[in-house]
């Protein structure tokens, strides 16, 4: 499925927006509602009147935009997990976080707070994912090793969808 979508999509040069990313997140029906609720809760934190300025302040700090975005959303997701009293299924953390990254990127682009590129979004998703996995016990170095071992040769083609 991923390979087919890659070949169909490939919006070279186009900005990655929420709709494009959202279409490629395929949640199973039993987790769909939880996923949407987590996204909404995250959006409320990012965009509500009470906490929106905090997000703006965070983006105006020094450092690469992708890193600020990735770490910020990772912190937000971990906080949601903590404060939700355990009702958030762990499976929705990464998909919901990626959705929130894309929404934050859309906001930055529209508001012209900073110039955000597709590479920034890619960096943000990578940093967010590695941060979340590290918090759940996956050693980033081992993860990198695992990905380095990956190649088309040691994964038969038909195992990829």
């Amino acid at each position: 499925m991923a390979i087919i979508q890659d070949k169909m999509a490939r919006p070279e040069g186009d900005d990655l927006d929420t709709e494009t990313i959202k279409k490629n997140i395929n949640m199973p029906p039993e987790l769909q509602e939880a996923y949407e609720r987590v996204v909404i809760a995250g959006m409320k934190v990012m965009f509500s009147k009470e906490s929106h300025k905090l997000m703006l302040d965070e983006f105006q700090k020094e450092g690469p935009l992708g890193e600020k975005l990735g770490k910020g959303i990772a912190g937000l997701m971990l906080l949601l997990v903590k404060e939700s009293n355990g009702t958030i299924p762990p499976e929705v953390i990464v998909p919901a976080g990626i959705n929130l990254i894309s929404r934050a990127a859309d906001f930055i682009r529209k508001s012209k707070l900073e110039k955000i590129t597709n590479a920034d979004i890619g960096d943000a998703i990578e940093i967010f994912t590695s941060t979340i996995l590290e918090k759940f016990g996956v050693d980033p170095a081992k993860m990198a090793d695992m990905l380095n071992q990956y190649s088309n040769e040691n994964i038969p083609a038909e195992m990829g969808a």
């Binding site: 971990l78 906080l79 969808a161």
Partner: protein, 351 residues
């Protein structure tokens, strides 16, 4: 004997070309013997019970977003995301693939998040746990209990011989002179030696023991499960029991507001969104959020406008207001063309 493993495609091809073979297995029946399949099968068998349960569950979520990650990876040239996205397509998803690579063998969630110690985390087998506990009982893990018992028995026999009378009975030292000896049968089994034994209490750093019966009182080595110290269930245990409340409370407890500045800043305002999440008013919340997002956009644009105004003010100040920049660009060409239509409409054409 060297073995040759076929890929799954080769195995599948052989099953189509040679349908006759072993009636209970083999290539003709689609048996998967390639190393990847074997690794995935093994990982799947013990995956749910391993220490990497939580990580496995989170990584399963990556599978759902694999297409998006692959897309972003391809568009941006981020190879990590591309690989993650492609691995999510394999059987079992990236979680199983990572498990087959031993990614969760360390099970370091509790260490990284500072959570409770899962039961028997220091010993991988029940036998190991039992051995550790017996070591705690004897309080000298390196010494065999049987040896200690024999030494204690010998010590008791020597003491008995010292105070015994000529008929082999033990004299009651509390009795009056001339009174009859009272017999005291020696312990006949190790159980009798241990019946009054009380396990050591290592709480608060102190070592208190009951009747030691000649046993040493060395504290156990670090990490040895102790009888009197109950093991707190870890995140894995709670997740496996479906107790997400405790699991996430423990996981979240390690979030450091200092190292998570954004999370810390948002903490003060997060209570309401969470309660909204729990309320389940999804549609209404979406409408409200759209309005709030519009507010956020407007607020950001307002900030941009304020910044631009301030820049103009400073520029004019530096120029001594000799030539005031109002921020409005007038297009002279449009003015010339629009003379007939009126000066104002012409001047208002975009630059």
């Amino acid at each position: 004997m060297s073995k040759i493993y076929f890929s799954r495609s080769m195995t599948r091809t052989m099953s189509a070309d040679h349908p006759v073979g072993d009636p209970t297995g083999g290539a003709a029946y689609g048996e998967k013997n390639d190393p990847i399949s074997a690794a995935i099968s093994l990982a799947t068998m013990y995956g749910t019970a391993s220490a990497g349960f939580a990580a496995m569950t989170v990584m399963q979520g990556i599978t759902f977003a694999g297409a998006a990650m692959s897309l972003v990876g391809n568009v941006t040239g981020n190879k990590t995301l591309s690989k993650i996205g492609m691995i999510t397509g394999i059987a079992g998803g990236i979680g199983t693939f990572a498990e087959s690579k031993g990614l969760f063998s360390s099970g370091n969630l509790k260490e990284s998040l500072g959570m409770g110690t899962p039961a028997a985390s220091n010993t991988s087998t029940a036998a190991g746990a039992m051995q550790s506990q017996s070591g705690s009982l004897s309080q000298t893990p390196s010494t065999d209990v049987a040896d200690e018992m024999a030494a204690a028995r010998q010590s008791a026999a020597v003491e008995k011989a010292r105070i015994a009378g000529p008929d082999g009975t033990v004299k009651n030292t509390a009795a009056q002179p001339g009174a009859a000896y009272q017999t005291t049968a020696p312990p006949s089994s190790s159980a009798e030696y241990l019946k009054d034994f009380k396990p050591a209490d290592y709480s608060a750093g102190s070592i208190t023991t009951g009747k030691t019966v000649g046993l040493t009182t060395n504290p156990p080595p670090a990490g040895t499960p102790q009888l009197n110290v109950p093991n707190e269930p870890g995140v894995f245990d709670n997740l496996k029991k479906g107790n997400y409340w405790e699991a996430t409370k423990q996981a979240g407890s390690a979030i450091n507001p200092i190292t998570n500045p954004y999370g810390a800043m948002a903490a003060g305002s997060i209570a309401q969104p969470i309660s909204d999440y729990l309320s389940g008013k999804t549609d209404a919340e979406i409408d409200a959020l759209e309005a709030q997002t519009g507010y956020a956009d407007a607020r950001a644009m307002q900030m941009q406008e304020e910044i631009a105004t301030e820049k103009r003010r400073r520029a004019n100040l530096n120029a001594g207001y000799g030539q005031v920049n109002t921020g409005i660009n007038v297009n002279p060409a449009a003015m010339a063309q629009a003379q007939a239509g009126g000066l104002i409409s012409g001047a208002m054409q975009p630059a």
